[in-house]
């Protein structure tokens, strides 16, 4: 279902809006760039006149009138205009007014991954996942952003603005996708060691596909050859697989890990090869992440565990 969705590469394009909450940001960025270039040109022209201009021009530039016009009136008008226009342009981005029918999701930044808690209209948690957010297209999504340890910043450039995640606070951000696709995100506030490897993925589905995806979120991993190994090797101390005895909370929920597009918080494609590599030595891939390298598995054990993880769709 999600395999055929268009995907943009890395890093995510920041000037290619794909939703109503990122378009004003892009427009503003271009306007500031163009306006800044014009002003810079004016300044350079003035500099040229001061250095090389004819005495007549120099005289004009040095007159009192020029100071009033260029030094006072021009910046006042331009900056005030920009401020008013910018505020109008971006007023729709503010999450102080929640649009009708918005989907609610709480996302908690951790070092160095993301908890994703889907919520219903009353704020009750309906589903837990990690590092990947599935949304329907054409419907605003209210993100309630928190942080568990240090300041992170949630940023999916094509879908919305950038919002810090601050411990002890809940910040709100609206995002929306116009078309189905896979949108990459990235932690945008330095949060320690592998900050650069703290990616995020938003998958936007058509409403029907989204309903299908939501209905498929049924824990599937109650049995399997690798489950015993998962429980006995210590994985369950940090990871939860709903429907099994594994209920650790320190690491990402793995109930549907096999269906995720990425591993390691948006950084690796998810296939049996990368899964095995991540389990055996995640430290080589994402140095200093909090999952230790599991060097003790032999090939058969690693294979069984990998197969089990991949089967958790």
């Amino acid at each position: 279902m999600t395999d055929r969705l268009p995907e943009t590469g890395w890093p995510p394009p920041v000037l290619d809006p794909a939703g109503p909450y990122s378009e004003p940001v892009t427009t503003l960025a271009w306007a500031l760039l163009v306006g800044g270039t014009v002003v810079f040109g004016v300044v350079l022209a003035a500099l040229w006149i001061a250095l090389r201009g004819s005495p007549k021009l120099k005289g004009r530039l040095g007159g009192e009138k020029a100071i009033w016009v260029l030094g006072f009136a021009f910046p006042s008008v331009v900056l005030t205009g920009l401020l008013v226009w910018g505020l109008m342009l971006t007023s729709s981005l503010s999450a102080t007014r929640i649009p009708e029918g918005a989907m609610r999701v709480k996302i908690i930044g951790e070092m160095w991954w993301w908890r994703v808690h889907y919520r219903d209209g009353q704020g009750r948690e309906t589903l837990r996942d990690a590092n990947e957010l599935h949304i329907p297209v054409g419907r605003p999504v209210l993100l309630e952003l928190e942080a568990a340890d240090v300041i992170h910043s949630f940023w999916v450039p094509r879908l919305g603005g950038k919002m810090d995640m601050i411990p002890g606070r809940t910040n709100r951000l609206l995002i929306e996708a116009d078309a189905p696709g896979v949108y990459k995100g990235q932690c945008a506030e330095y949060c320690g060691g592998p900050h650069a490897l703290m990616g995020f993925v938003v998958v936007a589905h058509s409403p029907e596909d989204f309903a299908r995806w939501r209905a498929s979120r049924v824990p599937a991993g109650a049995s399997g050859a690798g489950l015993g190994l998962f429980l006995s090797s210590g994985c369950a101390a940090c990871h939860t697989i709903r429907g099994t005895a594994a209920n650790g909370l320190a690491g990402p929920d793995l109930t549907h890990v096999g269906s995720r597009r990425t591993l390691g918080a948006g950084i690796l494609p998810n296939n049996p090869g990368t899964m095995a590599g991540w389990i055996a030595d995640s430290q080589a891939i994402k140095p200093a992440n909090r999952m230790p390298a599991y060097h003790q598995f032999n090939a058969a054990e690693l294979g069984a565990l990998t197969a089990y993880m991949v089967s958790l769709k």
Partner: protein, 364 residues
């Protein structure tokens, strides 16, 4: 293939030896002597480079060229030879600073082949036993290339002469299996055996003269070497030129190919395939377990690093490093090596083939 850096199969790279060493060396068939005629001729150089670059990377052949020239100039160094940039071969420029007569004239001319054929160098390649087979295998590919290049270059009926010459040259060097194949090809393709024999006789006598003078870095019983390149007469100039070109190209290419691993594929992958393979390897996250050249991150430590994969003889310690087998292994390792910790990875057959081609192109 710098002289100081021994390659996997024991080829030490070309190095300079006094000419009398040629006679003492026990394995005649393992020597290659190269003459490097010089003069304007950048066109041909570009053709060779282009063809080679499309085929595979050639690590630092200019190191060889430098020594060849140095030998010819009877100097320890050849300061007038500017080294080209690193491989691929497309970028390599040999600047030969003139032959013995022109030594001391300062900056050299660009180009390698031309009318004014003159020996400027020779070098010897030492090989171990494994290299001999490799040599024979790669020589076939090389000669095919030489055929094409010479044909294009000569644009005349005698264009076939250098073909035969090249085959002969290869046959003389490789011995055994390769020689028989090459000889058969020669007879089929050349069609001008009579003329070639004539040329060879002349060459032989000329070679003797040169040997007396101690100048020829050449071999009795082999058909190419420095000695007979200066052979030149008004009547046969064009013919000699073409033949010498073919021989020179063949010998040069054989030299280059000889320092590759035995895993050279008969139809080496083109650059597009290799690039696609690298992209696929990155996309599929092979780096989660393997450190790979050209891919900065991730550099996994679960499996072996894949540097110089194209020079390895074995895959996973079990399988010969051959493209079809490697492609199969990349996609589904446990099917070929039961018990392997490398799982079957979902990918298309085309992706597996591309990745295998890319892996085999890793030769530095």
């Amino acid at each position: 293939m710098s002289p100081s850096k021994a390659r996997g199969m024991g080829c030490q790279g070309p190095r300079l030896v006094p000419s009398q060493r040629f006679r003492d060396h026990p394995h005649l068939a393992e020597r290659v002597v190269v003459a490097a005629p010089f003069a304007p001729g950048g066109k041909l150089r570009l053709k060779i480079g282009g063809r080679l670059a499309g085929e595979r990377r050639i690590p630092r052949p200019h190191a060889f060229a430098r020594h060849a020239v140095a030998f010819g100039a009877r100097r320890e160094r050849a300061p007038r030879v500017a080294l080209g940039p690193k491989a691929p071969c497309r970028h390599i420029v040999w600047r030969l600073g003139g032959g013995q007569e022109r030594a001391g004239k300062g900056r050299g001319k660009r180009g390698i082949i031309g009318r004014d054929l003159r020996p400027v160098g020779g070098a010897e390649l030492f090989c171990d036993g494994a290299h001999r087979f490799m040599f024979a295998a790669s020589a076939r590919i090389i000669v095919k290339l030489a055929v094409e290049i010479a044909g294009i270059e000569s644009r005349e009926p005698r264009g076939k002469a250098p073909v035969a010459f090249a085959f002969d040259a290869v046959a003389g060097e490789t011995g055994g299996r390769g020689a028989r194949v090459a000889a058969a090809h020669r007879n089929r393709l050349a069609g001008r055996a009579e003329r070639i024999r004539i040329a060879r006789r002349r060459v032989a006598s000329r070679q003797g003269d040169q040997e007396e003078k101690g100048c020829g870095a050449h071999l009795a019983g082999t058909n190419f070497g420095a000695g007979w390149f200066p052979f030149r007469s008004a009547r046969r100039e064009a013919e000699t030129k073409v033949m010498a070109k073919g021989a020179w190209i063949a010998s040069m290419l054989v030299m280059l190919a000889a320092c590759h691993s035995p895993a050279i594929e008969p139809d080496a992958a083109d650059a597009g395939t290799i690039a696609r393979g690298e992209a696929a390897a990155e996309r599929l996250g092979c780096g989660a377990c393997h450190a790979m050249p050209g891919i900065d991150w991730p550099k996994g430590r679960v499996g072996p690093p894949l540097d110089s994969f194209g020079t390895r003889a074995m895959v996973a310690g079990r399988l010969p490093n051959e493209a079809p087998l490697l492609a199969q292994y990349v996609g589904d390792a446990p099917a070929l090596v039961p018990g392997s910790a490398m799982p079957a990875i979902p990918m298309t057959e085309a992706e597996a083939r591309d990745i295998a081609a890319w892996l085999q192109s890793l030769r530095d």
